[in-house]
Subunit: 204 residues, 2 copies
Amino acid sequence: MSRGFLLVLSGPSGTGKGTVSKALLNKRTDIVFSVSATTRRPRPGELNGENYYFVDEEKFCEMVNSKEFLEYAHVHSNYYGTPKEFVFDEIEKGEIVLLEIDVQGALQVKKNYKEAVFIFLLPPTMDELRNRIVKRGTETQEDINRRFENAFKELDFVGEYDFFVVNDKVEDAVKDIEAIIRSEKLRVKRHKDIKDRVLLQGGK
Amino acid sequence: MSRGFLLVLSGPSGTGKGTVSKALLNKRTDIVFSVSATTRRPRPGELNGENYYFVDEEKFCEMVNSKEFLEYAHVHSNYYGTPKEFVFDEIEKGEIVLLEIDVQGALQVKKNYKEAVFIFLLPPTMDELRNRIVKRGTETQEDINRRFENAFKELDFVGEYDFFVVNDKVEDAVKDIEAIIRSEKLRVKRHKDIKDRVLLQGGK
């Protein structure tokens, strides 16, 4: 039996983490989505327990105190956190768990759980990054500027990640991530019984 | 500009290293084959400079003394070695260099050059491994037995490798290796200028 792994898909705002995650999950039924807890308000169409666990600050602090998070962070005036239990249970079952998360969160996960596979999503150009942040249309001009500046700074953290994927066309980004998944499934270190498997299937 | 890498495709005799290498090279024009030097005699159809550099023992020892090998080994009464210069030149140019090599050789490469990507090719079963060694038909019964016993012992070294690929159907093994290649090309550590590339293509 092989263990699964945590796939951290991360990158600055506007790189298309959400779009790429959705496309990947639509294409692949063998990937489990890690649902984060957050104190931010749902955007139109977002569902509790599916997109996020929407919780109030009191509940969030309780969870922090009882160390229920793999990471948590305060970003754009809200708290976000990844409940540990779900992720570890699924990995033990052999599942691939996808965590879509901002850069700060990913760096914390890396501190706490190096065994995860870290992918940094890049915009094809800085102009395109700005376009995408503007197009989102749910932010004030001030928010847009702050997001763009943060995004620009956050590009410096690409060096902390295992892989980078340029999100020019979504389907190509998905194919890159699928290659990473196929490859990571073949990692020797995730399998304890490779020789035994060959022996059991054939006998000497 | 990104650096290429050395892809070490290895495994015991009879796992199909040669067949898989050929299928991979036929399919992909972007992979360069690392030609080893050897003192063993050419098999029918093998060409000097293409399959191997066929050299005599005197020449081989000269090359060992002047440290021209990434690895060399004495296997089945013959010497085999991988000339360094070719491999490093190609990697610097951004190429993927494929080295098809036995287990002892791969372990030496690992000692001298950890940056390589190490793939262990596995037979689907031990019975199938024996069949393949027998089918080769160029060996005595004694050679066959020795190869099989070596192969059995060498399976223990899978833990030293990065990836394992089961060679049941050649085309599936090739697809696994292609996924590993695509994934390794996206490794952050092989690229020094990721942020600059995004900036240069768009400007801030």
